[in-house]
């Protein structure tokens, strides 16, 4: 199977080939990969792809995963409809 067919981020449809090309282009920080590929910015907020991106980075840069700064996790952690935050007079 070609790297172009391996999906790393399902929410934003990012392939392994795209992640590797960005790293080859000098983007070696997970935060910058996130911004330029949208990897991890979809509905799952990186739950699946976050780890995969770190593993690809570790393989390509030779740095262990433990030494790579993972991307920041932001609230609300799971997507929550706006109405849940608003409440009503009865609450």
């Amino acid at each position: 199977m070609s790297d172009k067919d391996i999906i790393i981020c399902r929410c934003e449809d990012v392939t392994q080939a795209e992640v590797e090309a960005a790293i080859d282009g000098g983007i070696t920080d997970p935060e910058e990969l996130k911004r330029f590929l949208n990897v991890g910015l979809g509905p799952c907020q990186g739950r699946t792809c976050g780890r995969l991106v770190l593993q690809i980075l570790a393989r390509k840069t030779g740095k262990p995963v433990s030494e790579i700064r993972a991307t920041k996790t932001r609230p609300p952690l799971v997507s929550v409809p706006i109405k849940e935050f608003i409440g009503s007079d009865d609450d």
Binding site: G25, G26, I27, T28, D29, E31, E32, R35, F36, L41, P43, Q45, K72, R74, P75, P76, S79, V80, P81, I82, K83, F85, I86
Partner: protein, 376 residues
């Protein structure tokens, strides 16, 4: 031996990369130094809006030039930057704002901007989902728009490198050497020294500290602004809505279908904290639904904050400083992404030819800070 360049830029956001690109286009060899990763400062935390509705001549002209540059960015830089003319509506809920808006629209029209003052009913025609309770009117500029800050910076950075320039990430400038009143070189955290006859401070919220390295005091103060983004939903035709009420805010539907927005905190929060708060999510949710009730079913995905680098008058400082060869493009006061392309082009032109495209004395270094921008 010290490696030398025609110019060194400190900061890898919209200001640094745009200035670098336009310098490279004129054949200069440029080194851009970014202490973290590209867009790590204010640019990557902004809410993507690009407007031309301002209240002073130089800002209006700069913003109009930026829109012209955004419009042909994909063609010039070879990357889709998600630019679209989705427009901006400034909403007036009190008589004072009506007066201000009528005055600013008249000024903007003098420069050829396609802007109009509309009644509340006319606003509703443009945004059928808008709740117009209490609305007196609004200003509508259909050529205002939005783009992805990430893709714009990426496009400028790629083209800089293509033009023979260098970008170094993850190495912080720790010192600037000045000799006989002129810049000479920078020193970085890794111990490297790079020389150049021209150095640009494009350090956003760190601009004051970078200025001091060369002995230049810049009146730039970072302030915290929070923001959020929702999941993508079907297109609802919502341009950037700017609500100036005490419990107002501003938000837009992105080309991705997501809503992105923020509000100005009631009390200024100084500093560079980029953390998150649940309080903001609840408050912003309420404010968004007050304007567009249909948003209540849209799910919030992510909340963060970023820095506005404020000057006392709300306009940037773009000029050569009191140290020869030391330039600054700082104090964007929340408008860096939208003004960035045109400011980059103007400053690059000034550094090479010593001429500005039009009177930019409003942005001069060492000006006395007078009246504040009306459409801050």
């Amino acid at each position: 031996m010290t490696k030398s360049y025609d110019a060194i830029i400190i900061g890898g956001g919209i200001i640094g990369t745009a200035t670098g690109y336009y310098l490279s286009k004129q054949g200069l060899t440029v080194l851009l130094l970014e202490k973290d990763y590209l867009t790590a400062g204010s640019t990557g935390r902004c809410i993507t809006g690009i407007r031309q509705q301002f209240s002073t001549p130089a800002t209006i002209k700069t913003a109009m030039r930026s829109v012209a540059l955004f419009s042909r960015m994909e063609e010039e830089l070879g990357r889709d930057v998600e630019w679209t003319n989705s427009g901006y509506i400034f909403l007036a809920h009190d008589e004072q704002k009506v007066e201000t808006f009528k005055k600013t629209v008249a000024l903007q029209k003098q420069f050829g901007l396609d802007v109009d003052y509309l009644s509340a009913e006319e606003c509703k025609k443009i945004v059928p989902m808008l709740n117009i309770d209490g609305l007196l009117g609004g200003t509508w500029c259909p050529s205002d728009g939005q783009a992805s800050p990430f893709f714009v910076v990426q496009a400028y950075a790629e083209n800089m490198v293509k033009n023979g320039c260098e970008i170094i990430r993850g190495d912080e400038v720790t010192g600037i050497t000045v000799k006989s009143g002129r810049v000479e070189s920078v020193t970085t955290a890794s111990g490297a020294v790079y020389g150049a006859p021209m150095i640009v401070n494009a350090a956003g919220p760190w601009a004051r500290e970078v200025g001091r390295m060369a002995g230049v005091e810049l009146e730039v103060e970072p302030e915290r602004h929070e923001a959020l983004i929702t999941e993508g939903v079907a297109y609802m035709n919502i341009p950037m809505l700017v609500d100036y009420r005490k419990e107002g805010g501003y938000f837009v539907q992105r080309t991705t279908g997501q809503f992105i927005g923020c509000y100005t905190p009631e009390h200024q929060v100084k500093g560079r904290d980029t953390g998150s708060t649940l309080e903001f999510i609840a408050e912003m949710a309420r404010r968004m639904c007050r304007l567009i009730p249909a948003l209540e079913d849209v799910a919030i995905l992510r909340q963060w904050s970023g820095s506005y680098s404020m000057t006392p008058d709300g306009s940037p400082i773009v000029d050569e400083t009191s140290v020869a060869g030391f330039f600054c493009s700082v104090g964007m006061s929340g408008h860096g992404f939208m003004l960035g392309p045109a400011l980059g082009e103007s400053l690059a032109g000034y550094m090479v030819n010593k001429t500005w495209p039009f009177d930019m004395s409003e942005f001069a270094f060492g000006r006395s800070f007078g009246a504040k921008e009306d459409l801050a």
